[in-house]
Structure formats: C-alpha cells, structure tokens
C-alpha cells in the first residue's frame, strides 16, 4: 500500500507543503486513494463508507468522470478480492447517475476486449465476474448477462480450436455462478438450465490427458486431486441443488437494496467472443490442490467441503490477495488474516492450503518459491498461537504422503522445509519421523529427510546437523563437505600422477607462468596413448586429473578461492578441455574431488559453463553418464541440470535481444535518413557507413542466434535421448525379468523426465516437431510416450 493516508495533511515523503487550492493531479491521486482504500479496516461501517464515497464521487463526476471511470475499471481488474465492495459502489453511483452507469458498463466491455486481445485471460475472468455481480446491484439486466454467457458457451461448438480455448469460456461462466447464479436462475431459469446442460455435455467429451502430469499426488486418497473444471462443475452442481443459496460471499449491496432496486438497469451490449488467433495463449489447465478437510480442523468453525461453492470462493479470494500483495509480505500476511468472514471458517487451514497449493503448483508456482517461505514466516509472526501448529500439522501430513507425491513437488517441499527450519533454529521433532529409518534409503521418506538435512547443512554447518538429530538418524546425515585429494595421503604417493602433482603444486605456489606449468604437465604420461603415437594434443585424462586435483586442492578454502583459481588458470583449462572427452573428464575430476560437497560441485560447474571451459551438452552427458548413475536420484544432480538448461535459455534470449536491438537501431537510422532529405554528401556517406556497419552487425548476430538456438536444441535432444535410453533399458529389463517396473528409481526417473517438460515448456515448444519426429515416435514404450503426450495435452 502507498504510505499516503486519506487526509491531505499527511503526505509521504514530499518536501513541499500542500497548497490549499488542490491541483488536479492531487485530486486524482486522492480519488485513487479513496477508491482503493474503501473496504479496509475503518472506524465506520463498510456501508457508511460506501455511502460516503458514492456521494464524493458523484460530486466529482462533472470534473473527473473519465478519471473515475478509469480507476473503477482498474480496481475491477486488479482487486478481485474486493469485487462486491466495488460492484456495490458502482450500483450506488448508477442509482444516482444513470448515464454514468451506462458509461461504466461500456468502459468495462472495452476493457474486456483489450484484455482478451492481450492474452490477459485471468484478468478477463475478474472483469466478467464483476459484470455478473453488477446484475445483483441492479446495474445490468439479468437477461443480457445470460445472453453473454450463452455467447461464451457457444465457443464449445467451435471446431478446430485448442481445447484450452473453450475451457476458458466455460470456466468464466461457471466461476461467476456463485455470485450471480441465484439472480440469473430467478429471472431466466430455462435458459440457464440449457446453458448448464450444454456445459455438461462439453465437460463429458473433454480430453483430460494432461491431468496426471499436473497432480501433486497420484493417490486418490485422502483427497482426490481433481481437474479444475471437474471440481468447479461439481461445486456448481451442489450449489444448484442447494437452490443457489450461497452464504459466504460478502454482499454489501443487500444493505442498499431499497436504493438499488429503484435504479434503472442497463443491457449489456451484444458481445461476441473474439475469434481464435494462432498466437493466443490461453491459460493451461490446472489441478485443484487439496490437503485438508473438515476432519483436520477439529475445533472451531467447520471447513466447507471440497465440492461446496464456498470453498471455491474462499480459495479464489485468498489466491487474489496473494496475487495483489505478494511483493510486500507483511501486508500480504495481514490481508490474508483479515479476510472478511474469517470467523465462520478455519481461516488458518485455508491459508496454509492455498499457499502450499501455489507452492506445489505444476508446472510452476505463480510466484517465486522463496516468497511463500517468507510469507509463511510472517503469518507465524502474526498468529504465533495458532498458525505454527497448523503449519506443523501440514508438514506432518505432507511427510506422510510422500510416497505418492510428485518428485518436483518433493523438491519444493525439501527446499521450503529446510529454509523454514533455518529461521527457527532447526527445531523439529525428528523422532516423530523415526519410521523412515527402517526403510530402504531410496524410498521417498528417508530420501526426503536426507535431502532436508543436506540442505539444512548448507544453511548452517555439518556439526550443527549432527547435534540436531537423534543418533539413530546417522545414516541420513550428510557427509562432511571436505575435499578428497587422491594425491594427498599415504596411498597417493604411489599413484602415477603423484610426482607431477607435487611439481605443479610448487609451481603454482611460486606463481609460475601458464607456459611453465604447461611444460610441467607435458611430463604426465598418457594412459590412453601408445608409445609410438605422436605427441599431439590428444586427450590425456591423467594430465587433467593431476592439474585439476592439485589446483582445486590448493583453492579448496572457499568458493572465491576456487573461482579465482579457475580464472587464473583459464588458459590451461581451456587447453586441456578442447575435446569433448576433455570436457567430460574435467567434470569427472570435479566430482571426484568434491563428491562430499555437492554445493561446491554445482557452483564450479556453473563457473565452468560461464567461462566456457565446458559446454552445456557436456554437463548433460556427464550427469547421465554411467559414472554418475549412483547419484542419479539425488537433488543436486537435477539442480545442476536445470541450472544448466536455464543458462542455455538465458544465453539464447540475450543474443535474440541484442539482435532485436540492432534491428530497431537500423530501422531508426533508416527513418532518420529518409526524413533528413537532401543533406551534404559527407553526412550522407557517414550515415550510410553506419547503416552498413549495423547491417553487418545484424548479420553476425543472426548467425549467432542461429548457432545458439542450434546448441539449445541439441541440449534438449541430448537430455531427452538419455532419458529414453535409461528408461527403455529399465522397462525392458523389468519385462524380461517379469518384475514390477515401479521401483523408487523408476518413479524418480520418469518424474524427472516430466519435470524437464514442465519446467521448460515455453522453450521446448519450439522444438516439438524435431522431438516428435526423432525421439517421441510411436515405437517408443508407451510409458515414456505417455509423458510426451501429457505434455502436448497442456496446449491442446
């Protein structure tokens, strides 16, 4: 919220005094503030505040009508959690000024068209919902709203359009019904019945291949993870059965009924849904996250059932509050906790469920993961007597259900829990989880605990973790993150590389030049080479091993020391890793020496990619190599892989942006030249030179973009190929041995494949053709092909 308050006197950080005769800009800011703040905590009742504000706005209409229209349209779009407050306000204004009401409706329709044109589908939902609630405020005539809904639902009859398009139009209509269902049924029940029956038919024939990919848990118990339209349909069905009696939504307009029903209503202008455009980006489908029901909140108000309209409305509103205030965690927490109607619901449970629902949302959370951690901490601060307990209960439940939880969600759970604990001295009743100690360490529960302890160690230190858990947990405690130097101890002295490692070490300490060091390294025998081979630059793994082990050992003290070492000896490292074999081997050595410190491995790999000592494909090949098979299910492997893919994507993006900038610059130059007319020859020549240079630059950048995109495509191909190989091997082995395919390794691997698609779906889209032709063909095992098909279904 802006620090500005209502009154004119108190004015944020502005140094000058407010003038008595208020300037237009100040009036507009004041109007904005008044409108945005109505409905917040106040000494007066909401009704009297609305009444007062309506009076003020009515008086300002002659001078500030357009501004007021714009502000009201904006709050309709941006503050959906306060929907009914603003529809009431508009209702009061319409009752006082019929023309204004009409102009507002027109402005809203214009805004709706704009948002749809700009792919802002979520905001468009709020606008339509606003319009529908205006029926309750006697601003819009019910029959015209029904006609709009009929036009929306008719989209389900369109052919050759993506399913996500018709999904959206059905969703909009259904999601308005908790607010306006009663009123519409009272006026037009025949038409509404027809509408709902059409929707029902559509929902029955909809394809739902995408659902398994988006579910947080695969189990149906205790709470089925339903597809969002199915859930909403069930909620509306129940609402209809209850004769549209909805008791949760705050409806300030009821208090003004006598005033509002005197008002004249407007008809919505006929609204044809804009046709499908190829570049339209409809929202992708969702699965509704459920972790609590009324049995989980034993005392106090009862939690509305999963198929109640109340549940839908509460969750919508809480999601909207987070969407509005996510940048300011204290405000966000306060707004969530002051949710109107909180005394009738177990609010803490709803809040925790909505927050985890967002954190675990597939493919991606709506906001950055760390926001949810700090939001939960703020909530705990504001409700220290109740929220921490609900959070602990939730954590316990999540732990109990790990066996069927999606691997990507488990990753997020690990990161959230360890970060959360680090803010509370890592206090937790670890003994409660002793059951995991009897399980195979690859099973989800012990694996989860192990990863949590590892992450917790990164935020503290090894001994802290040792002291933290009961001694029975020792198998799950991470290794001490120390360097493993093969040339360092007694047994090292007999190794072939030992003598050179000593020489190199001394050379480095004595600040020898790169040439001197390379000369020393020439002495390293090549285990791969035959004696009579030429001394060419062929790949010598021992050379790499000796140099890198020695160097990293000297620099082991901290990240900065190691980065400095990589920088200082960059030339040598590039020399050693010219070949693909060299690149692969350097990664092997890094792993060997730092295998107990995965965090260090990750930052070194990152540095080596950024300084082009290794490339992204080499990292992918290394992670999938046989040498790393025993680490394949560990979290750090996937963090490295996804970080690598992200770097690749950012690199392509960067060059594309440079190309766009250069193109823009050229265009501007050309315009300038055309507009400048007859200038001196000298100037014209220099301008042409500049243009020529730009054109050359654009050509070079074009090549760079193509080469980067080619590298990016290749990276994904490598990754997918490797997945297919590994999974096929496993499936064939199981089939021939008549063994169940569903091992913990398999679940992890297939979900990691899913994760690649989900986390990078935007980028992968461009390569669909290649993927389908080369890799995900019909010959593939159906288990693997299913993942690809689910991914495709997200866009249908």
């Amino acid at each position: 919220m802006s620090r500005r308050r209502h009154s004119d006197e108190n004015d944020g950080g502005q140094a000058h005094k407010r003038r008595r005769t208020s300037e237009p800009i100040e009036i507009e800011d004041r109007l904005e503030s008044l409108i945005c703040r109505v409905g917040e905590k106040s000494t007066s009742s909401l009704e009297s505040n609305l009444e007062g504000l309506a009076g003020v706005l009515e008086a300002d209409l002659p001078n500030y009508k357009n501004k007021i229209l714009r502000i009201l349209c904006a709050v309709a779009r941006l503050l959906p959690e306060k929907l009914t407050v603003y529809t009431t306000l508009v209702g009061l204004l319409n009752a006082r000024n019929y023309n204004f009401g009409g102009e507002f409706v027109e402005a809203m329709i214009r805004q709706l068209k704009e948002t749809l044109k700009n792919n802002l589908y979520n905001e468009a939902v709020y606008l339509v919902r606003f319009l529908s609630d205006l029926v309750n405020c006697h601003v819009i005539a019910a029959p015209s709203m029904v006609v709009m809904f009929e036009n929306f639902v008719s989209v389900t009859q369109e052919e050759d359009v993506p399913q996500v398009r018709s999904d959206w139009f059905v969703y909009v209509v259904l999601s308005c019904l908790p607010w306006v269902g009663k009123e519409l049924y009272e006026k037009k029940d025949v038409e509404m019945d027809r509408l709902l029956s059409q929707i029902e038919g559509y929902l029955k024939r909809r394809v739902k291949t995408h659902v398994p990919m988006l579910q947080v848990w695969t189990a149906e118990k205790p709470h089925p993870q339903e597809e969002y339209l199915d859930c909403l349909w069930a909620q509306i069905q129940k609402l209809k059965k209850d004769r549209w009696q909805e008791r949760h939504i705050l409806r300030p307009y009821i208090a003004f009924d006598s005033v509002l029903c005197e008002a004249l209503q407007h008809n919505l202008p006929p609204f044809t849904p804009p046709g499908h455009m190829p570049d339209a980006q409809y929202p992708i489908p969702r699965v509704i996250f459920r972790m609590f029901d009324y049995t989980d909140a034993p005392e106090g108000p009862v939690m509305p059932g999963s198929h109640s309209a109340e549940r839908f409305v509460i969750e919508e509103n809480l999601h909207c509050i987070i969407k509005t205030h996510w940048r300011e965690r204290k405000t966000c927490a306060a707004q969530l906790l002051s949710y109107p109607g909180k005394n009738k619901i177990p609010l803490n449970y709803h809040i925790v469920e909505v927050i985890f629902g967002e954190l675990f949302q597939l493919p991606l959370p709506p906001h950055i993961d760390v926001m949810y951690t700090t939001l939960l901490i703020e909530l705990c601060k504001l409700q220290p007597g109740s929220l921490p307990q609900v959070l602990a209960q939730a954590t316990e439940m999540l732990y109990m259900r790990l066996d069927t939880m999606n691997t990507t969600c488990i990753d997020r759970f690990i990161n959230w829990f360890s970060h959360h604990l680090s803010n509370f001295q890592f206090r937790w009743s670890w003994d409660d989880w002793a059951d995991c100690l009897t399980l195979d360490l690859e099973k989800p529960k012990p694996k989860f605990v192990k990863e949590v302890l590892e992450k917790s160690m990164r935020l503290s230190y090894h001994q802290r973790i040792v002291d933290l858990v009961p001694p029975t947990f020792s198998a799950l405690i991470p290794a001490e993150p120390i360097f493993s130097f093969k040339y360092g101890d007694e047994s090292g002295t007999s190794l072939p590389g030992y003598p050179v490692s000593i020489t190199v070490s001394n050379a480095i300490k004595n600040r020898a030049s790169n040439e001197e060091i390379l000369a020393i390294l020439k002495e390293v025998p090549n285990p791969n080479q035959e004696d009579d081979d030429d001394e060419g630059e062929s790949f010598n793994p021992l050379k790499i091993d000796v140099f890198l082990q020695t160097l990293l050992h000297l620099a082991a003290k901290s990240f900065s020391h190691s980065f400095s070492a990589l920088g200082k000896f960059h030339e040598i490292l590039k020399n050693l890793t010219e070949s693909d074999d060299g690149k692969l081997h350097i990664l092997k050595v890094v792993y060997e020496v730092w295998r107990n410190h995965p965090q260090m491995i990750a930052v070194l790999v990152d540095k080596m990619i950024r300084t082009q000592i290794v490339d992204c494909a080499a990292v992918a090949n290394w992670l999938f190599s046989q040498d790393m098979a025993h680490e394949f299910t560990r979290l750090f492997i996937w963090e490295i892989l996804h970080s690598t893919i992200r770097k690749m994507n950012k690199h392509v993006q960067k060059i594309q942006n440079e190309l766009e900038e250069a193109k823009d610059k050229l265009e501007k130059q050309q315009h300038k030249r055309r507009d400048s007319g007859d200038d001196e020859d000298m100037e014209k020549n220099s301008e042409e030179d500049e243009e020529g240079q730009l054109e050359e630059q654009i050509e070079r950048l074009q090549e760079k973009v193509e080469s980067a995109q080619s590298e990016q495509k290749n990276l994904f191909l490598v990754i997918f190929q490797r997945f297919i190989m590994l999974l096929t091997e496993h499936l064939v082995r199981c089939e021939t041995g008549s063994v169940d395919i569903s091992t913990p390794w398999y679940k992890n691997c297939i979900e990691r494949l899913q994760q690649i698609f989900l986390m990078h779906h935007g980028t992968i889209q461009q390569y669909m053709g290649t993927l389908e032709n080369l890799l995900f063909t019909a010959e593939l095992d159906h288990h693997i092909l299913a993942v690809y098909q689910q991914f495709c279904a997200l866009q249908l």
């Binding site: 300011e328 950055i368 760390v370 700090t374 990240f559 930052v603």
Partner: protein, 164 residues
C-alpha cells in the same frame, strides 16, 4: 489501457534506504542513479562465522548469484560481519530485498540494502579497530561479533589492573 494505480503499485521492500556511503566517489546524483540500477546488495548483521557458502545458499533462492565478497577486518583480514552479494540481474536482487532481507541466516536476522557497486577497498571495515563502525560503539555483548563493542572492550580493560 493498462492503467497503473499508484495506490496499488506499492513495492516498499525494494525502495532505496536513507543510508549513503560517505566514501562514495562521485556526487549525490550519480550515487542515486547507481543505487537505482544496481544488482549489488550490501548484507549486514552477519555473524563473523557466517561463510560464503551459507550466503550463497540463501541468496541463490532469489536467482543466480554472480559473486559474493565477504567483508573483512582491515587489520586482521578476517570476516567482520558483512558482505556484498551481486546478482546478474536487478530483478533477482529485488527479490532478495523482498524475501531475504529481515529473515535469518546463521540464526541472525540479516539486513540487505542497495549498494552502488563493489569497488576494491570497500570490502574492509571502516572502524578504527579494523572492523565495522557499528562494532566500535555498540554496548551490548554479541558473541558472534567479537563480544563487546571495541570501545566497551577498551573501557573494560582499563578497569583491570595493568598487566605489563
């Protein structure tokens, strides 16, 4: 069409604070400009024992960290409780201001603030005793930051009989 409402645009956690580096080489205008475009954060109230690794782990939650420079006692060249964290993009640094500032690292509430950018020499404490200025004058006992403040330590030692 997309009207931005000032009243709804609040993002107070990323605002620049009142602190200005007195040693900054340049005028006030230049400093403001750099602060507004900076990708670098000053991080304060660290324990002397907090490591680069711990800082990296926490701040990586907001995006890829470009580099970390641990603040050092000018005389002892040991960590003295602050550091700089530089991100590749400003957006990531903004998220750190929103979600890491005011939370705990190594059990201490840490504070982040915009920094005009690291320059050689700025990694050293500016207190007379070599550490940070705030550790010169503070009166409380903080075991993770060398115990009592330096001035308070001197007073304590003058109370004891001479030891030479």
């Amino acid at each position: 069409m997309s009207v931005k409402l000032n009243a709804l645009n609040s993002d107070s956690y990323i605002e620049v604070s009142q602190y200005r580096d007195q040693h900054f080489k340049g005028n006030r205008y230049e400093q403001e400009k750099l602060l507004k475009q900076s990708n670098t954060l000053y991080v304060g109230n660290l324990s002397f024992y907090t490591t680069e690794e711990q800082v990296h782990e926490l701040f990586s939650k907001c995006g890829d960290v470009k580099r970390i420079i641990i603040g050092l006692d000018k005389i002892k060249k040991t960590a003295c409780g602050f550091c700089f964290v530089e991100y590749y993009t400003r957006g990531d640094a903004e998220n750190a201001m929103r979600f890491v500032n005011g939370t705990r690292l190594d059990d201490r509430i840490i504070r982040t603030d915009w920094d005009a950018g690291f320059k050689e020499g700025r990694q050293y404490g500016r207190g007379k005793s070599g550490g940070q200025v705030r550790d010169e004058y503070r009166q409380d006992y903080d075991p993770a930051r060398g115990g009592y403040g330096k001035l308070a330590q001197q007073h304590r030692s003058t109370e004891r009989p001479n030891s030479f």
